[in-house]
Symmetry: C2
Subunit: 340 residues, 2 copies
């Protein structure tokens, strides 16, 4: 590969002049500039990242860290990525998805490499050593998600508490008083232990207790077959329950299949509302699920804005934004107007 | 931010010495090394990407280019990413997913930035200006997919031709002679026009013609509702068809729902085999779909190997590997042994 020195020799100028042309750091006469540029073209000189980054002190790359090596990507996670990448592009940055193990050490190595100007961390756990590593370092960062105590941290997150409360209100408004909450209980011992599960299940228990409703939580792993198994025996195991909140997108279509195969009519025998889901999966179910849509696009944009603001305006206030899910009607829940 | 010069002044050494310590390019005495390192620590000096990359002439980063800005990520695409990232890590590289518009210009800008050492291109179209841009440049690359004429290009791809032939053989072995092929016909005018659709549909037509079977192709957009609409009217529109190949993963669960709602029994009235699909989506359907599994993990690994080989051994033979899909039984197709 041709070096800057090769270009300088070929063009008959100093290396400094080549650098000035490359980086625009000092005015160079037009004829000299053209001589340098044609030397670069002739020699197939490839502008070195390093030269350019060195001159500007920035790479303009933001890494969206995702533990892809340990976890299959969710449909919702890919929606984060798409919207975050778009927003970064609008603001003159490149956002790349960087597969990362769930370790502080890897965060340290990445931020010290200097290849990236900012980090956006996903799947944040309640206690998260990666967040501590980011806090110790000097690389600007923001979280999509939050730790147990996010004081002093820049974050955007789904408002899981409000989402569960709104979901319960939808069911209560339709006359339900005995309600089950289905989610993957294995969360707390695995990587899945991001705050989502903890916050949602605590809110369910608290709200049920405060409101005099009857509530039960039901365990279900995150896959369609586990959902079907839970659906097949649901009425038998919980004969008094008349409505379900399910926060388990991958299991939800299987849950509906299991209910149908067991002869459980939805919504007549059992009303179902899926929390933190997407149009695609809701419409794969039969009947189509009523659901609270994960604000993935909005969080992707807000998270990207948060990290770019940390880079370009380090003294601006720390964002701590919670976005609730939005209710989308579906055939697994009667519409309120239809009930009147 | 502290510069190398700040570190040099603080440690009382030359910039060259700081560079030697940073890059290990020349032996430096232990006391001097310690003085430089403590100066870096005190000043919070951040190792510049550029310095390191310049010294080594490499960043060890491979970009998996995916047109995320125009297309939602598929479950299968994310499986490519996960396995490709793992394989890169095993070989000492970092693979990042780089969202890219579908334009040659963007490829040029990325490869000229020098920030990446190699490119893995996905969703390759039959005529693809991005491939031409990569061919013109000097950055090592490989394709997951292939153009109309991939001669002289390093690629790995699904063997769509063999997959369709195997799928037809499965149906013929069960006595079917009137077969429909469902896929998204809008492909050729959009970004979806990667070779997959073109190759699979041509193979279907050719094989039907050569074998004296009766065949029809059916259009269906890539979403669950479109699948349900096609399913609801399928028997009415195609009363003679007894078996279906569907190459449209997102529509397939909806197609099954539509059939059921129209009273079409699967597999008794209609046998269904899903091509190029995944365990997750197949098990979301009712009944669970028999399918030919996309070799996503294998292609991710092979594609990564291909591009790393181009980087580390540019004279090695160009890979041109085709991997067929693997048959997975499901309840939408009777097992052959059950028929005997």
């Amino acid at each position: 590969m041709a070096t800057m020195q090769d270009v300088a020799q070929h063009a008959g100028v100093s290396i400094a002049t080549v650098s000035f042309v490359l980086n625009g750091t000092k005015a160079v006469s037009e004829p000299t500039k053209r001589r340098v540029e044609s030397a670069m073209a002739e020699l197939g000189y490839r502008r070195n990242p390093a030269g350019s980054a060195l001159a500007r002190g920035r790479t303009d790359i933001i890494a969206l860290l995702y533990p892809a090596l340990q976890r299959q990507l969710h449909a919702t996670a890919t929606r984060f990525f798409t919207s975050a990448a778009e927003r970064a592009q609008e603001r003159g940055f490149s956002l790349v998805m960087w597969p990362a193990a769930n370790e502080a050490q890897e965060i340290d190595a990445l931020t010290k490499s200097g290849l990236i100007d900012g980090v956006l961390l996903m799947e944040v756990q309640l206690e998260d050593e990666r967040v501590e590593a980011l806090r110790r370092g000097t690389t600007p960062f923001a979280l999509i998600g939050r730790t147990q105590d996010p004081t002093g941290l820049p974050f955007v997150d789904i408002d899981f508490e409000q989402t569960v409360i709104s979901g319960l209100e939808e069911l209560v408004a339709r006359g339900h008083t005995s309600i089950a909450f289905i989610y993957d209980h294995s969360g707390p011992t695995t990587l899945h232990a991001y705050g989502a599960i903890a916050r949602a299940s605590r809110t369910f228990r608290d709200t049920i207790a405060q409101s005099g409703l009857s509530g039960v939580t039901v365990d279900c792993r995150e896959n369609p077959r586990a959902g079907r198994e839970v659906g097949e025996t649901f009425r038998e195991r919980y004969p008094d329950v008349t409505a379900v909140l399910i926060m388990n997108e991958l299991a939800s279509p299987g849950f509906m299949t299991g209910l149908r195969q067991a002869g459980t009519q939805v919504p007549e025998d059992l009303a179902v509302l899926s929390l933190v889901s997407s149009d695609t999966v809701a419409s794969m179910s039969d009947p189509e699920l009523a659901f609270m849509r994960a604000p993935a696009e909005e969080l992707g944009r807000l998270g990207t804005d948060a990290v770019i603001d940390r880079i370009t305006a380090p003294d601006s206030p720390l964002p701590n934004t919670l976005v609730p899910c939005e209710m989308v009607n579906g055939n697994s829940l009667p519409r309120l107007t239809e009930q009147a």
